[in-house]
Homo-oligomer: 328 residues x 2
């Protein structure tokens, strides 16, 4: 008998009917089965190495214990720790993650979403939504590190507003008064919220928008910023990768960090401390963001009618060598 054992095999071995075995195996219904019967069934299951066929179970219960996780690109260093947190959070409830990358392509996101839905995914964790996204209300969904403007979808994010204010305050305390901002894309909540916070905190207009949260886009946007606003002594970058683009752009203009211009990032990605100079940035709790988003999703799956929580996790200023007082 090489074939995979079914619940029928377990039932036969335990001398009960398949229905009883099913009840004994399932913790929720175990209560309605005689204790001795339960042990017999459990022993039989163990002896046979029984594992329930999830396809059959899904077909019957319309749940799969699988969540879809859709992100732009795993190679962006913010995502690995977040995804890791998600996976650990899902595992607490016996869930697993189906992973997909979109490269920011909205059609691909749609495709992936549909394909995962076809695979009976119980819910979604999305790191890809634009601020104006309309998400189908039919399936439990949580946004991670992103929000929609309406706030109708539950989300887990870092405190972008507080982070930017911390960074700006530290620059002001160092004596900077001409501060620029290389913002992330407007259509992403992270880019937008940090931009709003920067304008609120500084009242400054010296802002350019990078086309993406990448080093290349940061490089390009920094050059535009330098051309448009003279005499800046500090640049607040929309995230760490953009900040690295700032480094390169400043170097290309013969400016050094932090002697000529201070630079700050956002996220504290791995290796931010190894840059030259080390990057002053805002540390967000990557792993916990993932973990909380998984838990939030599980809660939504358990009770889809629950209000759409928006969890905002605290951030921390990490001061390194990329910021200093401006030259007199």
């Amino acid at each position: 008998m090489d074939k995979v054992p079914t619940i029928k095999d377990v039932a036969d071995r335990a001398g009960v009917h398949a229905a009883t075995a099913s009840r004994a195996l399932n913790t929720a219904t175990r209560g309605m089965v005689n204790t001795r019967t339960v042990t017999r069934v459990l022993e039989a299951a163990k002896a046979l190495g029984y594992a329930p066929n999830s396809a059959a179970r899904s077909l019957r219960t319309r749940t799969s214990s699988v969540a879809g996780v859709i992100i732009p690109d795993l190679r962006n260093p913010v995502f690995p720790p977040i995804v890791r947190g998600i996976e650990d959070g899902l595992r607490e409830a016996g869930y697993m993650a189906l992973l997909g990358n979109t490269d920011g392509d909205i059609d691909r996101e749609r495709e992936l979403f549909d394909a995962m839905r076809g695979r009976q995914t119980d819910g979604f964790i999305l790191a890809t939504s634009r601020r104006d996204d309309e998400l189908p209300a039919t399936v439990p969904t949580v946004l991670v590190n992103r929000r929609t403007d309406t706030g109708a979808v539950p989300s887990v994010t870092a405190d972008n507003d507080a982070g930017v204010r911390m960074v700006v305050r530290s620059l002001v305390e160092l004596g900077h008064s001409r501060i620029g901002h290389v913002a992330g894309p407007r259509h992403l909540s992270t880019g937008w919220e940090r931009y709003r916070a920067f304008v609120d905190a500084t009242g400054a207009e010296s802002v350019t928008f990078a086309a993406a949260f990448t080093e290349e886009a940061g490089f390009e946007a920094t050059l535009r910023l330098l051309d448009a606003y003279e005499g800046l002594t500090a640049i607040v970058a929309g995230n760490d990768l953009i900040a690295l683009g700032c480094y390169a752009a400043l170097a290309s203009r013969g400016l050094s960090v932090p002697e000529d211009v201070s630079v700050t990032g956002f996220n504290d990605i791995p290796f931010a401390d190894r840059q030259r100079p080390g990057l002053t940035t805002i540390r967000i709790p990557h792993y916990d963001i993932g973990l909380e988003s998984a838990r939030l999703l599980l809660a939504r799956i358990a009770n889809p009618a629950a209000p759409a929580k928006r969890i905002v996790l605290p951030v921390e200023l990490i001061t390194r060598g990329s910021t200093a007082s401006p030259k007199p």
Copy 2:
């Protein structure tokens, strides 16, 4: 009618039997259906927004178009690009990836493996196997960046042997003759193969083994190496993270890189170029390793009897500031 349409709904709308609709919808069986019937069915499916219920299909066909991907820890920077390549490779065939992390824990690996199997996974891509692992022959499996000693399991790896030889040759050409090796764990094929290649290439005995492929383990093993073998002018590290541990250990002894000791890594992880000094290392084609492993798995799923290919991808020496000629 808000409910999800089934094949029965499609069949009714097209005026055919469900079995016929199934044949028309499935490309493999489409040939046995009248062309006009096919178009009618396809139109009906489109009109209803029909998507097959994969649980029902899996139950019937015993396939799922899902592959399990099990790695030690996504936060290790080698894995994101590999996983990304895997995902893209799987997608070419309409497959998706179920992702799991083990933290190197063999029990957890077993658990994940079983849990994924229970979810009707069609095959596995494992980055976790030890050299002596016995893998169940019952389900198609491919190893990525790892091999077992017997070679009975198909695998996709970088050319560890050639990489180490390139590194050693370049050090020798720089004039080094007292070269040490901080190897990765013996029980992993990457650690073992690079160690063997080092010994073959140098004939040297100056080796210590790190407990893991991490910076901390590299730090600790480097201190042991320095204590055991005096006068080393170069250290070949088992991978980049270990090399960063070397940097730290050398610094703690007041030695500078590359003036006192040259250091090399392996993998060329993102940001290896940003270290201080930039790390001379072997670049492995992370993404392609993932891509090829996905394709290999798909081939094995299509034909499980096919011979167990072992694909070895070429590597490249990347010279940066961490290597130089020894002091006279």
